[in-house]
Amino acid sequence: MGTQAIAADVVRVRVPERSIRHDLRAVKIVLHRELIRFWHDRMRMVAGLLQPVLWLLVMGTGLSSLLRTGGGNVDLKTFIFPGVLAMSVLFTAMFSAGSIVWDREFGFLREMLVAPVSRTAIVVGKCFGGAVVATCQGVFILLLAGLAGVPYSPLLLLTLIGEMFLGAFALTGFGVMMAARIKSMQSFFAIMQMAMMPMLFLSGALYPLAGLPAWLSLLTRLNPLTYAIDPLRHAVFSHLDINPALARAFNPGVTWNGWHVPVGLELIMVVVMGVGLMLIAIAEFRGSE
């Protein structure tokens, strides 16, 4: 019989019981999808480059003339470079996290939520995917290091990439946590805009964190982004050949009540924050139907 002949050819699939290996496959594919989308979306990549270039070349150059009267041989562009790196990572990470809201609006989130796979795997995949994508964007900015007078030392580049990844991970965690509750794209970006600008201005992205008035000093210390940016600047300045007084002026580090917070601790704080935010996001997605 005809139908039986066809039936014999049907490839049968048995979906296995849930296992760690299966969850890892899910993490990997969710992450992979973020990369494919990032790669397809070249406009986004280019647009993501434009803003940092403006900051570096226009703001950096413009303000440099102001600074020159104070003397010294540190280019303001060099100072601003780690801040610009952090900025582009921040924006890309938020954008990636926002894709959850997008997926919800366009229905794809359902495809993920009805799969026989733990929601933990999906959230972990999203967080790592966003972090990898944001780091990739950061790497493109890193190519511009020469323009800012930052040396292309392999060790420096590797350090910066590693630190950017940790920061990107924490920021994506924050974005995913927010995306779990926000149902529309418009409100997600409105809220993110509202959160990102103060975070940026109250971090060390655009000015050194020494000699600030007490209120501003306190706010910058409370801002998580501060601890993601300081290690970047520290790495850049440790590879510059300048006199120690100037280095101290431009790279004062972060102090708590006079105590200089070591870079290692800052990085640990970033990681703890990232993991914490991700756990909250996981709890939120598990709780939702």
Binding site: V11, R12, V13, R14, A26, I29, G107
Partner: protein
């Protein structure tokens, strides 16, 4: 199993039950979207769930596929409880939603690959199986193109292919043909028939197209969260019992008055013809010619359609029921997603 079977409906082939539902209820706040329904679907059946928007079809499907937790009642799908064995249910069902859930940025193949990984389809068979389902829905040649370049019908076919990728035992199709042109609807039905022959699968679907319900082995009519009728299309039509007679006359008004007077029949003009319902229409026609007293130009008698069935159980045509009331119920559900 003696769960609410009416209208002489016996499930074909007692191979076992693919879906067993007992007293399933879902409440959203004060609204009772599904009010204690009972259904049994046999393995290998195409089971249709028929009703206007907002009648509770999607809510029921969402409970059966573990997306919503029932307020009360029990449901087993592919032998697993939808509440306590969520993952087992999910592994054994395929879903095609009413609203698109494919990623337009990915190619057709990438969408399927994503699905295969999420469902843990063994790597050794992914390639063959993918080819098989894509060929079945006629998208093998377009597999490398981004889904955003697909037409509406192609997207729906891709979703069906994806829903089948992991060889589910029960395939849920929520309005699989809504918003598609007649030709595409026809081809999707061809796939569904083909599936039934080839894949040894149970299909549970919702629709609000009456003509599509004819393809089902059995249908349940749901209205305001309750099942009002259940049986094979033929049995349901027989239960209505009346044929529809349409006549063209020289003077419609006199004809209607005469029908009322001589036969006590309520008639009305639909699409230029005097229309009325009568049991055993063929036997009635000779009397009609003899006794009406108004010249008749033409006459036609038709067996009851599912439209008539729907009308007799719910008191309105499905299109009338459509626009009214319950749309907000669906919106209330969407807001919850």
């Amino acid at each position: 199993m003696s769960t609410g079977e009416f209208a002489g409906a016996t499930a074909p082939g007692k191979l076992g039950e693919a879906v067993v539902v007992e007293g399933l209820t879902k409440r959203f706040g004060d609204i009772e979207a599904v009010r204690g329904i009972d259904i049994t679907v046999a393995t290998g059946e195409i089971f249709g769930f028929l009703g206007p928007n907002g009648a509770g079809k999607s809510t029921t499907i969402n409970m059966l596929c573990t997306l919503l937790t029932p307020t009360a009642g029990r449901a087993r799908v592919a032998g697993f409880d939808v509440r306590s064995q969520r993952d087992d249910v999910r592994r054994n069902i395929g879903l095609v939603f009413q609203d698109p859930t494919v990623d337009g940025y990915l190619s057709g193949e990438q969408n399927l690959r994503f699905h295969a990984e999420l469902y843990g389809v063994p790597k050794a068979v992914v390639g063959d199986r993918m080819r098989q389902v894509l060929e079945m829905v006629g998208l093998w040649d377009r597999r490398g193109d981004r889904v955003e370049t697909y037409s509406g019908g192609m997207k729906r076919r891709l979703e069906i292919a994806r829903g089948l990728l992991h060889s589910p035992r029960v395939l849920f199709l929520d309005e699989p043909t809504v918003g598609l042109d007649p030709q595409t609807r026809k081809s999707i039905w061809d796939y569904i028939q083909q599936l039934k022959n080839n894949e040894d699968i149970t299909i549970f679907m919702t629709t609000h197209y009456m003509d599509e319900a004819e393809y089902c082995d059995r249908i349940a009519i749901i209205d305001s969260g309750r099942i009002v009728a259940l049986g094979t299309p033929e049995a349901l039509k027989a239960s209505v019992g009346k044929d529809r007679v349409r006549i063209e006359t020289a003077d419609d008004e006199t004809a209607i008055a005469a029908l009322k007077e001589h036969f006590d029949l309520e008639a009305a003009v639909h699409e230029g013809e005097v229309t009325f319902a009568v049991s055993s229409g063929e036997e009635f026609v000779p009397r009609l010619f003899a006794e009406l007293g108004v010249p008749i130009k033409s006459v036609s008698v038709s067996r009851p359609s599912l439209d008539d069935v729907f009308m007799s159980y719910t008191g309105s045509t499905i299109r009338d029921a459509e626009g009214s009331a319950n749309d907000w119920m669906r919106m209330a559900f969407r807001a919850r997603r």
